[in-house]
């Protein structure tokens, strides 16, 4: 186990380093911060002055080191737009994003678990085919359109739910469903194939031979083991889930990190963009690490490196 944790930690460090370089490169290699900062009619002298002021005349690795060593301390510079520290801005917007992500995940599981298990138990039946259809349709659905359609139906027509905003549980329903619909299809397919695979295992036959009732076999023996691949992939999908949250937030004007990021991109407010991207990436990496640990605990074969 110690070796397993160490290996995952090293991987985590490499990924964080890689992402920080990527974010740095996006602004400093692809773009030119001075051009973004100065008005378009600024003269050459002014350009040179800012170039020096921002330390852009130094070698690239020196610049990266400066960026990284500050970032580690939570200093991503001040927002060019509101003059408050970028880190503070992003941190304030973090809770709504995390609530939405959690709600979306719960919603996805509420849809995917029953349907996936049902489809696996009644394989090749009408229910199974209907679930597969639903999953294919769900995967093709652009969720920002789904969100808008929900708003038109439930908020504009039926006036049953608030169209956007944040606060009460009613505000959560449509965004959570939208995000859930994004993650549910793939989760359902995984649950289905996981359960099918496990139902064919010998220990299930043993359990049945011992005369356990069918529900006991399914819940206690099959389901628990089917959880492992589901947890693994959900962990890997967490990045995608956050990506889906970004889309959902912009549709429902959810006051989370994503709307902040999109607004900052529109305002060309790069310290905030950088900070948001790095923090989100950090969350993803940490979640992946935790998932790896949980899976390692659940399945000794994985942590022992079989």
């Amino acid at each position: 186990m110690k070796y397993y944790v160490l290996r995952q930690l090293i991987q985590l460090a490499v990924v964080v380093l890689g992402i920080s370089m990527l974010v740095f490169a996006i602004l400093h290699v692809i773009g030119d911060p001075v051009l973004l900062l100065l008005p378009q009619n600024a003269g050459k002298e002014e350009y040179e002055r800012y170039h020096k002021l921002l330390g852009l005349d130094k070698p690239i690795h020196v610049q990266y080191w400066k960026f990284a060593s500050r970032a580690v301390q939570g200093d991503f510079g001040k927002s060019w737009y509101t003059d408050t520290p970028a880190f503070k801005l992003v941190l304030e917007r973090m809770p709504p994003t995390l609530y939405l992500t959690t709600a979306g995940l719960v919603m996805a599981l509420l849809i995917a678990l029953p349907l996936g298990i049902l489809a696996a138990l009644k394989r090749h039946s009408f229910i199974d085919n209907a679930c597969t259809m639903l999953a294919v349709a769900g995967q093709a659905m652009p969720i920002f359109w789904l969100g808008i359609m929900l708003i038109i139906i439930f908020a504009v027509r039926l006036k049953a739910l608030p169209a956007s905003g944040y606060g009460t549980w009613e505000h959560f329903l449509m965004p959570a469903f939208t995000l859930g619909a994004f993650l549910a299809p793939i989760t359902m397919r995984l649950v289905r194939s996981g359960v099918i695979e496990i139902l064919n295992m010998e220990y299930i036959r043993t359990a049945r031979a011992k005369g356990f009732a069918e529900p006991t076999v399914i819940v206690k023996h099959a389901f628990r083991n089917a959880c492992i691949p589901v947890i693994t992939v959900l962990g890997l999908q967490f990045g995608q889930l956050l990506g889906g949250a970004i889309v959902t937030e912009t549709v429902f004007a959810w006051p989370g990190v994503a709307t902040l990021t999109v607004d900052s991109i529109r305002n060309q407010d790069f310290p905030v963009v950088q900070c948001a991207v790095v923090l989100l990436a950090l969350i993803i990496v940490v979640v992946n690490f935790i998932v790896d640990m949980v899976v390692g605990l659940l399945d000794p074969r994985i942590r022992l490196g079989a």
């Binding site: 991987q11 490499v14 990924v15 890689g18 992402i19 990527l22 974010v23 996006i26 602004l27 692809i30 773009g31 973004l36 294919v136 349709a137 995967q139 093709a140 659905m141 652009p142 920002f144 359109w145 808008i148 359609m149 708003i151 038109i152 504009v156 695979e197 691949p229 693994t232 890997l236 990045g239 995608q240 956050l242 990506g243 970004i246 889309v247 912009t250 549709v251 990021t261 999109v262 991109i265 529109r266 060309q268 790069f270 963009v273 991207v277 989100l280 990436a281 993803i284 990496v285 992946n288």
Partner: protein, 305 residues
């Protein structure tokens, strides 16, 4: 977890098929099995054809403004006219024409970006799988970094710096989407590399380049085709999202994404402006996905993509 590769003795597309009744020389049962895929392909063909022939089939120009007839509802609703079948948008442009033209942007970006990403991904995947060792480690670390990261966020960040334009969208989506190909191709290459014909090639003194491109790559064509097809749908959704945010193709050029974004403002009274472009995206991606799935089953039922 199951291994990613198909067992080596399964030859492509030659699985024993139960003798089906032959009519017109085609085994009907086999055709019936792929009914959804064929239907999807037909729908997709229709969409592509209408996008290509847009100037001839669209009833109006997609950019002509007619302020008098703004926010006109679709033909079947009260106040709708037959001259504008799907209604008009906030400045009186014909929605049907804009939906037909809008497909051009999505299809061009989807195809071009996938060409770029599949080329990068396949080359890196081949290199990682064939050479192994340090090259493999470097490439796979990069793949892991990029797969951890939400694709949307990366695209947003880069577009923010480069500025929105058609070419930038293609480049960004193309460059951001390669890791999936690399991962699958690497796994396949690792398996094929150990096969006898590669060993024989090496014994005969073939160069690495010839082995990789002459012996390994041809075996991967069906996998690449399937992933690329499915990825076109993914790229179209992402492209329309960026356009929806106003960071993609800029108005007045009609694109499903920016039409949806503009329509959102008017959804309180004029639901059709946001509905039809979104429906077009949904139908297109659904058709592509169904076709991709059928293609996978047809080329190699054991493929795990």
């Amino acid at each position: 977890m199951k291994s990613v590769t198909a067992s080596p003795d399964v030859a492509l597309g030659t699985e024993p098929v139960a003798p089906a009744r032959r009519r017109f020389g085609i085994p009907m049962r086999r055709v019936w099995r792929f009914k959804w895929g064929l239907l999807a392909a037909a729908v997709l063909l229709l969409i592509v054809a209408s996008a290509v022939c847009a100037p001839w089939i669209a009833p109006y120009s997609p950019v002509i403004v007619d302020i008098q007839h703004r926010l006109g509802p679709p033909a079947w609703m009260d106040g709708g006219t037959r001259t504008h079948l799907l209604g008009t948008d906030q400045i009186g442009r014909d929605l049907l024409s804009r939906v037909i033209y809008g497909g051009r942007v999505s299809l061009v970006i989807g195809t071009a970006a996938v060409l770029i990403s599949s080329t990068i991904g396949v080359l890196l995947g081949l290199a990682a799988g064939y050479f192994a060792g340090r090259i493999d480690w470097t490439i796979m670390t990069l793949v892991n970094v990029m797969l951890t990261f939400p694709f949307v966020l990366l695209a947003l960040a880069v577009i923010a710096v480069l500025g929105p334009s058609l070419v930038n969208m293609i480049v960004v989506l193309g460059v951001a989407d390669w890791p999936l190909y690399a991962r699958v191709i690497r796994a396949e290459t690792l398996a094929i590399r150990e096969r006898e014909f590669v060993l024989a090639g090496r014994a005969l003194g073939m160069s690495h380049l010839r082995i990789v491109f002459g012996q390994i790559l041809p075996n991967l064509v069906s996998v690449i085709v399937v992933i690329a097809t499915l990825q076109v749908a993914r790229v179209i959704i992402l492209e329309s999202f960026l356009s929806f945010l106003g960071l993609g193709v800029q108005p007045p050029t009609p694109a499903w994404g920016n039409m949806l974004g503009e329509g959102r403002v008017y959804m309180l009274n004029s639901w059709w402006i946001a509905t039809f472009p979104g429906l077009a995206i949904f139908v297109t991606t659904l058709a592509i996905n169904l076709m991709g799935n059928a293609l996978r089953d047809w080329l190699d039922p054991h493929m795990k993509v």
